[in-house]
């Protein structure tokens, strides 16, 4: 039982060194500054005053421990006897104390992760000067089992490349009209800033009264929030298509004009970075566009009828597109290698959604097979998940065709960029009353909507697209089939 361990015992690092299963190593550690080749994870440098914090053995049966929480954060000063970290053993949670004074330079094993007994879980530097060295060491240490925090080693590189654009905003740290104003950050924002090592002073708050919200920190840290540790749900991140283009993108910034004084540089969030990457990649695909006017009176009437049942316009359009795609499989295909058609067995409609500061394309899978009501419900779930940033990868990267609708903003037509990995994307404008003359010369007013499809001309030709659009238009103009 835990009580004998819990009562009065405070574990210090020293005890981890001297604990029962390590005695053999102990003499050599204390007498020679030699690295132990036999056990690479126990590299102990005595030369400088950088010390490792080891996973202590809290019980005789303990082989590994889980870090419950770091009581101290990186950069905190520690004094001998202070609690630094809470470790969960097979028996209980215990505070682990430092045996030395110093500064917690780096955390090697993050909260919630486990490490074998004796493994380094953090690095302790004696003075501030040694922090950099300690950090480098931590970076080498973390190696394959990198903790959840961004790996320390690339970080300096990143900052140095980021450095040039930075000087511009120097005089006005926060371009808020009121001039020098106290930074206000919410409790959670502060916690996140600490966790992700974001300098809170450099963040511009977008919350009420200009306060810094957790979302601001997440944006500044370039992370997509919430539990999904998978890359954020980002515009069509299917298969990395044309890597060579990346170099072109990298080269571009060098020719950028100097920033206008007073401008602010806001780095991309991960989501925004992915959008950028995909957009640049799309340049390698030869695309063309075909537009088509579609009469929507019947669709509008149907929508009015089914709306109370929870059906959304998005679901109707997705369903119509999916049914048309079923008849024109080439538009649902993609060209992966420039040499072949890849026909997709499923019709998965990705729908672009703007989400604060980013763009997500949740995917309605098998949109041709699901009925309208299921589709609407599915869509609602996906949007909620997207807002909560909890989309699973297959829920945003499995699309075979993309639908983008700006009609609700009154846009009458627009032109979409084809996401890499797909054959076509449909851009839907607003449906507007339009005067039309029929074959007999009678004028009437019909609601017309302009649909514009961008496609990969390597696999989809003009006639294919035209035929597809004709089918789509027929379905929309006779929408009864949508409800079947």
């Amino acid at each position: 039982m835990a009580s004998p361990f819990l009562s009065n015992t405070t574990i210090s690092f020293s005890s981890s060194l001297s604990s029962s299963h390590l005695p053999r190593l102990l003499p050599s550690i204390s007498f020679s500054p030699i690295r132990f080749k036999s056990n690479p994870r126990r590299i102990l440098i005595v030369r400088s005053k950088i010390r490792e914090i080891f996973m202590p053995a809290l019980s005789s049966t303990m082989t590994e421990g889980k870090i419950v929480s770091w009581v101290k954060s990186e950069g905190d000063k520690l004094s001998k006897g202070e609690s630094v970290v809470v470790v969960e053993s097979d028996k209980a949670d215990m505070d682990v104390e430092t045996f030395y004074d110093g500064i917690l330079a780096a955390i090697v094993v993050g909260e919630g992760e486990t490490a074998p007994v004796g493994a380094a879980i953090g690095i302790l530097a004696e003075t501030e000067d040694e922090i950099a060295e300690a950090k480098a060491k931590a970076a080498s240490k973390s190696g394959a089992s990198t903790p959840s925090a961004p790996p320390p080693s690339p970080a300096p590189a990143a900052t140095s490349t980021l450095a040039p654009p930075k000087p511009a905003p120097a005089p006005a740290p926060a371009p808020v009209a009121e001039g020098p104003r106290k930074t206000v950050a919410t409790p959670h924002a502060k916690k996140l800033a600490k966790q992700h090592k974001v300098d809170i002073e450099s963040v511009v708050g977008t919350g009420p009264y200009g306060r810094i919200t957790p979302a601001d920190i997440e944006a500044a840290a370039g992370i997509a929030p919430s539990k999904t540790n998978v890359g954020p749900a980002v515009v069509v991140e299917t298969t990395p298509a044309a890597p060579p283009k990346a170099t072109a993108a990298a080269a571009a910034p060098s020719s950028l004009p100097p920033p206008v004084p007073g401008s602010t540089v806001v780095p991309f969030t991960t989501m925004q970075a992915a959008v950028s990457k995909n957009m640049v990649e799309s340049l390698s695909v030869p695309t063309f566009r075909v537009g088509y006017p579609v009469t929507t009176d019947a669709l509008d009437a149907l929508y009015a009828k089914v709306k109370p049942k929870g059906v959304t316009m998005t679901a109707l359009l997705a369903k119509a597109a999916a049914m048309a795609l079923a008849q024109h499989p080439v538009v649902n295909a993609s060209c992966k290698d420039g040499k072949s058609f890849t026909y997709n067995s499923n019709i998965n409609i990705a729908v672009a959604v703007a989400i604060n500061g980013g763009l997500i394309t949740p995917v309605l899978q098998d949109a041709d097979k699901l009925d309208l009501y299921l589709l609407s419900q599915k869509w609602k779930e996906l949007v909620e998940k997207a807002r909560a940033k909890q989309l699973q990868p297959q829920e945003y990267n499995s699309g075979t065709f993309t639908l983008s609708n700006l009609g609700m903003f009154g846009v009458d037509r627009f032109d979409a960029i084809l996401p890499p990995g797909q054959g076509a994307i449909m851009a839907v404008g607003a449906s507007k009353p339009t005067v039309v003359a029929d074959a007999d010369g009678f004028f009437s007013v019909k609601n017309k909507m302009l649909v514009n499809v961008t496609a990969d001309h390597r696999i989809v030709y003009g006639a294919d697209l035209a035929a597809f659009l004709q089918t789509f238009s027929k379905i929309v103009e006779n929408p009864e089939s949508l409800t079947l």
Partner: protein, 583 residues
């Protein structure tokens, strides 16, 4: 008058060090808290009706305390002579949980009993305290569980996004309060307790008047009188409570809005429970604590663990060692502004901008307008001075016969169940049985998720006493991690701690942090109340698998040098009451 919500004896721990918040009926500070009383407490409002309306209450207190000698002589001539026959055997002023407990016990003892209430039956606890807060906490507990994807996954459960309807939550709290209130009222009516409506004022020995504003007063006499008027939220000066963005627990329990960011002033019971509610409903919380550490009054080890579980992983930050010296409600497009002052240097330290502020700095006794001056009793910081048998002590240090004060109004232990226990103790005394309540056997609980509970002394208190009296103290601990039931619930986070004397096996204190801690504490509090020792209780059997086994294991892991009493020949005095040192 209200249990977990009040700051119990810790209220002293929280209020005493805040000397600049000190509550003194003779200082202007009291006048500042007056508007609060006026607004929130019906009793208070009507109490004013008796004094001239142009006169402020604090003024009235000062006048009366200055001239009390005169009044005494007057009363000695006028109504100083106690009546020979009485309307009632017992009159209780205040129908909160304390008054209710006393009334029920009095009826059981055959006393003719009346209870005077100027506001609603049930007092703080039922209407503005423990009862509605438990309803909110029941909601927050479920929200927490449903929101914890990790927790749900561990059970193999899948739940889509959990949400709540604020009004629905608020209604649950309100419905619970009215239900309990009617239960309380009905139980007294059914037993034949007279419920007299109006504000009770003592006009002389064994004589009370009561009545509503605008109606003639009634005078009733009783052989014994119990004051049980309770308390109101204490608002330090400089804080402007508007009831919307700067609120006390009275408003917060109505849950009229859930701010994005709320500052909670005070990290005792009330503050902690509300932080649990607000963070579960999506708010971010900033604690402001005058002492150097959060959760003063809890056993330090429990406090540390509780902070690790209840504060650090949640959307909460805190400022310790600071006073909120000025709080301005949100208005004119500005947020709530809180000025923080260093508790030691008294230097301005920081300014916070938040959406709302909850004042949870403890509770102040509600004793003004009671007519204590008529019997030469002077309150201390508003509290009615009493001896260990709840007998009221007058300005000369003498006992006032036939007058008792229980509950928050005496400040001994500001908990609903303590008030009730004190009331029962008083009834025992007036029916001819000497009884003294052992306050160290009264448990206390904080209904966070998980809960915190305790009885008796904290470890530092026990060690200090041991040092003084020269005995040894031992500590035993068990973790919830080893408990089958806790693990089945995926709630292994928790600790139970026993502080005891190894030489005689006496239990000095038990502190629990973990699932259902508030329900688990009673085994320990009963053991303390009955004087059961470690060496005996460890043979008691507990059902398996239950959370109670945490305590079973705790008792078993303690080491007393004494033989269990079943091995002793003299079984007579096993249940000797706790030592004198306990009282």
């Amino acid at each position: 008058m209200h249990s977990a919500l009040s700051s119990l004896s810790f209220s002293q721990a929280t209020t005493v060090p805040r000397s600049n918040y000190a509550f003194d009926s003779h200082s202007p500070a009291f006048a500042l808290s007056q508007p609060v009383n006026l607004r929130f407490c019906g009793l208070r409002r009507e109490a004013f009706g008796f004094s001239s309306l142009t006169q402020s209450c604090s003024g009235r207190v000062r006048v009366s305390s200055r001239g009390h000698s005169k009044k005494i002589s007057a009363s000695a001539v006028g109504n100083g002579t106690p009546p020979k026959s009485f309307d009632y055997d017992l009159i209780i002023i205040g129908a909160g949980v304390g008054g209710h407990g006393a009334a029920l016990h009095a009826v059981e003892k055959g006393l003719k009993t009346a209870i005077i209430e100027g506001d609603v039956v049930g007092g703080t606890c039922v209407n503005r305290g423990c009862v509605p807060s438990k309803a909110l906490l029941a909601v927050s507990g479920r929200m927490r569980e449903l929101q914890s994807e990790h927790h749900m996954k561990a059970f193999g459960l899948q739940v889509s996004a959990a949400g709540y309807d604020r009004q629905g939550v608020a209604d649950h709290a309100n419905n619970l309060a009215s239900k309990i209130r009617s239960n309380l009222t009905n139980s007294m009516k059914a037993l034949g307790v007279d419920i007299l409506t109006g504000v009770g004022t003592i006009v002389g020995p064994q004589k009370v008047k009561y009545g509503k504003v605008g109606f003639p007063d009634n005078i009733v006499t009783a052989k014994d009188i119990i004051i049980a008027t309770g308390s109101v939220p204490f608002v330090p000066k400089g804080i402007e409570v508007d009831g919307k963005t700067v609120i006390t627990s009275d408003h917060a329990l109505k849950l009229e809005f859930v701010p994005d960011w709320i500052a909670i002033v005070g990290s005792g019971y009330i503050g902690l429970e509300f932080s649990d509610v607000y963070t579960a409903l999506g708010s971010e919380v900033t604690f402001i604590e005058a002492l150097d550490q959060l959760m003063p009054g809890f056993d330090p080890e429990i406090g540390k663990l509780a902070q690790r579980v209840l504060i650090n992983p949640r959307k909460i930050d805190y400022h310790t060692g600071v006073f909120a010296t000025k709080i301005t409600p949100a208005r004119d497009g500005k947020p709530v502004i809180i000025e923080l002052t260093d508790a030691k240097t008294k230097e301005p330290k920081d300014t916070l901008e938040v959406d709302a502020a909850l004042i949870a700095t403890g509770r102040a006794p509600f004793t003004n307008g009671l007519g204590l001056e008529n019997i030469n009793v002077v309150t201390q910081r508003g509290f009615v001075p009493v001896d260990e048998r709840m007998r009221v002590i007058d300005a000369n240090g003498k006992l006032v016969t036939h007058l008792y004060c229980i509950g928050d109004a005496n400040g001994k232990m500001m908990l609903a169940h303590a008030a009730s226990a004190q009331g029962i103790s008083v009834v025992e005394q007036v029916t001819g049985r000497d009884h003294m309540l052992n306050h160290l056997s009264i448990p206390a609980a904080c209904f966070t998720h998980p809960e915190i509970s305790m009885v008796g002394m904290t470890e530092p208190q026990a060690r200090e006493k041991a040092e003084k009296e020269g005995f040894e103290v031992s500590v035993a601990k068990t973790s919830f991690k080893a408990n089958t039931k806790a693990l089945a619930e995926n709630e292994g986070e928790g600790l139970a701690k026993l502080i005891y004397r190894p030489d005689n096996g006496e239990i000095l204190g038990v502190h629990i942090f973990g699932l259902h801690a508030a329900d688990l504490i009673h085994e320990a509090s009963n053991a303390i109340a009955l004087g059961t020792r470690i060496q005996d209780i460890k043979f008691a059997v507990h059902a398996h698998p239950t959370l109670s086994e945490v305590l079973d294991e705790l008792f078993k892991s303690a080491k007393s040098t004494q033989q269990p009493s079943y091995q002793k020949k003299h079984l007579g005095g096993i249940c000797s009451f706790a030592d004198d040192s306990h009282t």
